[in-house]
């Protein structure tokens, strides 16, 4: 009897270097798929480049704003430098004060007592523009005659002893004697910011800012089928029986711009994915192995068909069907804030840039068929799904003036059916989800 290993060796020798020319269509498909992937990669890189360029522009703009502010402050300081108080001639009968007296907030019921002139130092008058803050250091002159002109409204002033800052317009409103004396008025009640207010970003100071969100979370796929042929109810029931939702998720980054303290324009990149499990069992699976040989009988070639084997058992197929959507949304948001938290309503549309689909479903002939593109299966889903409309409600909470966390339920409706018109079941797709994320207001000030 032939030793079993002999057949291995013989077959290995004959087959390991065997060459069979493949069908020409294989190269065409390979070439097309490789080109498609290269194009997709280029588009992705362009998109990432665009995002980085956008982010860079925002960063540059913010740093430019900050630098402009810094320079203007520096200019003011430089302009003030020569006007630093020169030692004034002090009358002999007035002793120089060693420490400048600095106004401080008064406690409730406390009255500001006028210090004696002799104990007051002098400061040079300073000019400032409206709206700037003024150090209201007490700067009484030794004598009114020798005193410099009273500050109309002073600019920043560095004072060693933690000065109380008053807005220039407030100082401008002071009664003349006080201004001439350079004295602070009777202390204005200073409201200490509450703990909650400290966490909030002051949109009143700067309303037009950018905000960056990053989010992710669970989703729910809500497909809706419409039979184009009423006789396909059994088929639809079979499809429902063989397909089970396995979960979904979403993730994205979003850039928002406050065009108004309460109105935002939002865009970014959003990815939705849902998974379905496909299970198919045919308990009566039979496969016949036949051979067709040609024999010369009575001078004629005749095809002889022989059944050489029958394979029987059960056929079981289990696949995880994956669908992914990559979209660019454009939303309008309206925001209300109260203390450290707030609510925003968002609505708008999105454009699909990529529709990923891979898996197997039951075909109309009752057999499993792959719908993955380039799998030689059946084309069932569109290349891209087109436009969607969506809306969301966001609840946010400020952890810090520029940092928020948020939860945001959303609902999305894809406008067109995601299946091709040639497929007998029209599938419309809706998605719901819960975004959980963090926002950063892009303002360095």
């Amino acid at each position: 009897m032939e030793r079993p290993e002999r057949i291995d060796q013989d077959l290995r020798r004959r087959l390991q270097a065997a060459e069979i020319t493949p069908p020409a269509v294989v190269w065409e498909n390979v070439y097309e798929a490789v080109r498609r992937r290269q194009r997709r990669r280029i588009v992705l890189w362009l998109f990432v480049g665009g995002l980085m360029l956008g982010a860079g522009s925002v960063g540059l703009w913010l740093s430019w704003t900050e630098r402009a502010l810094f320079l203007s402050t520096e200019d003011v300081t430089r302009a003030l430098a020569p006007s630093k108080p020169a030692p004034l001639p002090i009358p002999l009968d007035i002793a120089p004060a060693r420490e400048p007296i600095v106004a401080s907030p008064l406690k409730e019921g406390e009255q500001l007592s006028s210090p004696s002139l002799s104990s007051m130092p002098t400061t040079a008058p300073r000019k400032s523009g409206p709206g700037t803050l003024v150090t209201a250091s007490v700067s009484a002159e030794a004598g009114l005659d020798s005193a410099p002109a009273p500050a109309e409204s002073g600019p920043h002033s560095e004072n060693a002893a933690a000065p109380m800052l008053l807005p220039a317009p407030v100082l401008a409103e002071l009664p003349l004697p006080s201004r001439q004396l350079g004295l602070s008025p009777p202390a204005l009640p200073i409201k200490k910011p509450s703990k909650h207010t400290q966490k909030c970003y002051k949109f009143r100071d700067k309303s037009k800012v950018w905000m960056l969100d990053a989010y992710g979370g669970p989703s729910w796929s809500l497909p809706k089928w419409h039979m184009r042929d009423s006789e396909l109810d059994t088929y639809a029931a079979e499809r429902r029986r063989t397909e089970t939702p396995e979960g979904a998720f979403h993730a994205g980054v979003r850039l928002s711009y406050f065009v108004h303290p309460n109105v935002l324009l939002r865009t970014g990149i959003h990815y939705d994915q849902w998974v379905e499990r496909f299970e198919y069992t045919d308990p009566n699976f039979i496969r016949y192995h036949i051979t067709v040989t040609q024999k010369l009988i009575n001078g004629q070639w005749v095809n002889m068909t022989d059944t050489v084997g029958v394979e029987y058992g059960s056929e079981y197929i289990k696949t995880y069907n994956r669908f992914g959507l990559l979209d660019i949304p454009l939303h309008l948001g309206i925001e209300w804030r109260s203390g450290p938290m707030g609510l925003s309503l968002n609505a708008g549309g999105s454009v699909n840039t990529f529709f990923y689909k891979r898996g197997t479903i039951l075909n109309t002939d009752g057999r499993p068929v792959a719908f993955t593109p380039s799998s030689n299966g059946r084309e069932i889903y569109r290349l891209r799904v087109g436009g969607s409309v969506s809306g969301s409600v966001q609840w946010f909470y400020h952890l810090a003036p520029r940092t928020r966390v948020f939860v945001e339920p959303y609902f999305r409706l894809i406008l067109r059916p995601i299946t091709l018109p040639t497929y007998p079941i029209e599938q419309r797709q809706r998605l719901a989800g819960l975004r959980i994320g963090v926002s950063q207001i892009l303002d360095k000030e």
Binding site: M1, E2, P4, R6, I7, D8, D10, L11, R12, R14, L15, Q16, A17, A18, E19, I20, T21, P22, P23, V25, V26, W27, N29, V30, Y31, A33, V34, R35, R37, Q38, F285, R287, H289, T291, V308, G309, V310, E311, Y312, G313, S314, E315, Y316, I317, T319, T360, P368, S374, S375, N376
Partner: protein
């Protein structure tokens, strides 16, 4: 043009070099695919998916070892993946009780490569995959078992059955190759 030049041309995205690389290896790899697939159509699918992977993962080739071996490995993995994706539960498929089938020592040599590939493609899935991995590619039973997610003993058993099945088929299809038995 050697393999390295071909690879570098493909990495630059040149369609001409991609075509040349495909033409150099497609015939050999198609023969591999035919051994693992049930039908020529499945083999073409494996070849197509395998070469797409080759071109998209080419930058991962380290220029160490045989490039053909690297491609072959990708093609085999693609074939196994296809096999595992649609696994057929055909263990009790009626091939359990095969009689011993003696054949002539030079029986294999008297058949063409196409006939041999056709013969192998008729093997039930489990037998065919194990036979290809162990008998043709030279993997050990432990390696084959790990690749397929089966027991080593199952791999041995499948190989034995595959051999018997092949001998029997050779005898049935080509009676003149059967050895004279006492």
């Amino acid at each position: 043009m050697n393999d390295e030049e071909l690879i570098r041309g493909c990495l630059r995205g040149s369609a001409r070099y991609q075509r040349l690389l495909y033409e150099r290896y497609a015939s050999r790899m198609y023969a591999v695919c035919l051994r693992y697939a049930r039908t020529p159509s499945d083999a073409a699918d494996i070849l197509q998916e395998g070469f797409i992977k080759v071109f998209t993962k080419l930058e991962q080739f380290q220029f160490q070892g045989s490039f053909e071996g690297w491609i072959r490995r990708i093609i085999i993995n693609t074939a196994l993946r296809m096999y595992q994706r649609q696994r057929f539960d055909c263990e009790s498929s009626g091939w359990e009780r095969m009689p011993d089938a003696p054949i002539e020592p030079d029986a294999i040599d008297s058949l063409s490569e196409a006939e041999l590939l056709q013969l192998i493609s008729r093997l039930p899935d489990g037998y065919r995959i194990v036979f290809n991995l162990v008998a043709i590619e030279g993997y050990s039973h432990a390696e084959a078992a790990e690749m397929l997610g089966i027991q080593e003993s199952t791999s041995r058993s499948q190989l034995t059955k595959a051999r018997r099945w092949l001998c029997d088929q050779l005898q049935a299809l080509y009676p003149h190759l059967a050895a004279q038995t006492e």
